[in-house]
Symmetry: C4
Subunit: 232 residues, 4 copies
């Protein structure tokens, strides 16, 4: 905290960090609750509705769309949460517009249990494509919100940490551009093959989990450098 | 933290902040949960109840009151959370009555998913006006609770930070007076035109998001000055 | 933090506080979630089930047991949360048994939405007394858990802060003894008059909110002295 | 914090702790929400469905499988939360794979309300064994996830605190090996006697609560030594 010259580096840094600390903590809470509420989309099949000659295990087995939707939504929200942190490593200040854009992003995230429930309910139904379309469409919107939030914050370094690395900032901008495009592919796929659409969403969670390459991925660098200062 | 004269400014300040820190953290948790529970008001239309010749997308489209109510309630709770913080920038001490008043305010906030569900269920129904009346009426009550909480805390600076700025305190008091009045307008509107009533609530969220004017709005000044000390 | 003799008082104190900090934070989260989940007991009356000649407002009015149960449970959990804090001002260490006793107490608190739903559903029903009995009975059990937790922790100062004030400790023990007794009265009342039983529970929330008397109540002293050290 | 030689021990330690702090806080939130959502599996029996000659109390009594499942799941998640902390006392760094493994573990934990609801619904039903099998099977999977997470982190001390005690690490590895095996016994028991299966799960919560022996159990040592440093 105190370097050899006796200067206290930590204090001004954390002073700068204060503006966004509360927004992050609140956002984290919302992510944690949204991810846990997903389980409410898993309905217990009523004991009285079970026909005499049907096994519970086969009823549960036929509910696989529910589990697929659950796992996909869980991993997607988890990755979004990690990426939200990642952005906030670089963001230090806040303003009215940013506060509202972050609120819209959170609104997108908290909605996820609803389209997840749609996919769970309709994946065996003739209207499965509509459900998968709403599901992937929801992620298109969230991906756009992520881009808008980041571009607003990073435009000419508006809200970024003072000594931010322009290459990393440009790298995030570049990677995030793929988000809406790729979820749009999942959206298009929903018109053709429903499971493909949900599967693409699942694959994208994997993609966004690994933002860079190299021995130790960049995401972790960011995630584990809460100060966002690339001290070398 | 330590000024040129070697005095530690931070310690006594945070010492003074301690009294309300827990109340704020608990309140934040309640806000985050209430805002996320709103999604449970979005019901997935049962696959078995879908008539043969009806598209899922048109059923979802007809559910627009649900989405309108969701967005309005989400933004309203979000703004309330921001304003709650804003008040607590100025409040440093607490007492029995204040604790109870804050509890009543939180009770009002946690109730919001219920009238939101009412609007979602009844906006196409002949009883839509009653639902919108309960919805806006709920916000009238919460706005009154906000005023009572603030007036109790700020009366003769009772629980405020020692070096509070009387002009800012008076400014908040003035602006908050509008709350109950304007939500009462939304309440009145519910007797005439339901969507107008909900729309006014949506507009009020926008209004309370921007408490001041000037180059950098006052809300942000408050929001980003956790110490509440207007050091210049 | 650093006294005139240059000794750092804060460090050892917070060191001693560490053992229970996590338990408190986790408990607070559970309290906040349980108090917010109560709203799920408020059911929106189905629009299709509303008879042609009945007003929504009168249906909502007839749901008053729901609101009474909601308010009572909300305030009771709120006061329990405050009192939980209050105990933890005096408790600094933890052990296996204490961890389990606190877990049992939390289990009691998280159950509250269930009997609350029972009262809401049955208060107009011939089985109202059974519902009110389960409701107040649940509070009897929680009050006993509170006593067991406190007595285990305070027995010969087992887990208390080193320089605890024996008079205050004895005062808490004395006041807490009333809890099970008074909730037992509410339980007995449920056999005679249901609303009286719920009303007593509501009154008890008020009673436990004001643990002492004097110019500034003792509860607040405790609540706002996170260190638990009675530095005079 | 500052030893006699003037070295600041605290700073580098907390610096090292930072990597996992966020993961722990997020995980704690998920545990707290999952444990509180369990109450939603307790369904209030509909007042209209109650036959004329049946007492509410006897209906509630017949719901005992619900309460058994609730208590078992509550205690199991509570113990998992404590053990999660326990592991994180020794883990200081994080990487991509670890982040994903912890995510999978959390996914397992958040799912628990679903099989809990299954047991509650089917324990009186001819398909009770299937429900108990899914329930205990879910815990087998979580126990495996716990082992994988710990083995990945502790393999050659990969992510552990620098001065970790190899004996304690080996002790945890040894004890955790029992988890999947013992839950597999509960799974096997579900084919024979349903209540035995759930009862074994309940007993295992007790077992994992007491990881060691001696005057003051090891779990507490770990739980109350947030630094993970075995300074003697």
């Amino acid at each position: 905290m105190v370097d050899s010259a006796g200067r206290n580096w930590h204090a001004p840094m954390s002073e700068e960090a204060k503006e966004t600390g509360r927004i992050e903590a609140f956002s984290d809470g919302v992510f944690a609750i949204a991810i846990t509420l997903l389980v409410l989309d898993m309905k217990v099949p009523g004991a009285k509705d079970l026909p005499q000659d049907v096994r519970l295990i086969s009823v549960l087995g036929r509910q696989w769309p529910t589990y697929l939707a659950y796992v996909t939504s869980f991993l997607t929200i988890l990755i979004m949460c990690v990426n939200h942190h990642r952005l906030f490593q670089h963001i230090r200040r806040t303003d009215q517009v940013f506060l509202m854009l972050n609120g819209l992003l959170l609104m997108g995230v908290t909605v996820v249990p609803f389209p997840t429930g749609l996919v769970a309910e309709y994946l065996h139904h003739r209207e499965a494509r509509a459900a998968a379309g709403v599901y992937s469409g929801c992620f298109v919107v969230i991906a756009i919100f992520f881009n808008v939030l980041w571009r607003y914050a990073s435009h000419r370094g508006r809200l970024l940490v003072k000594n931010h690395n322009p290459d990393i900032v440009a790298g995030i901008t570049r990677q995030y551009r793929f988000g809406p495009v790729m979820y749009a592919v999942a959206f298009r796929a929903s018109f053709i093959r429903v499971t493909a659409s949900v599967g693409i969403c699942l694959g994208l969670a994997r993609f966004f989990a690994v933002p860079g390459s190299g021995r130790r991925s960049r995401m972790l660098e960011w995630f584990t450098q809460p100060t966002g200062l690339n001290v070398t």
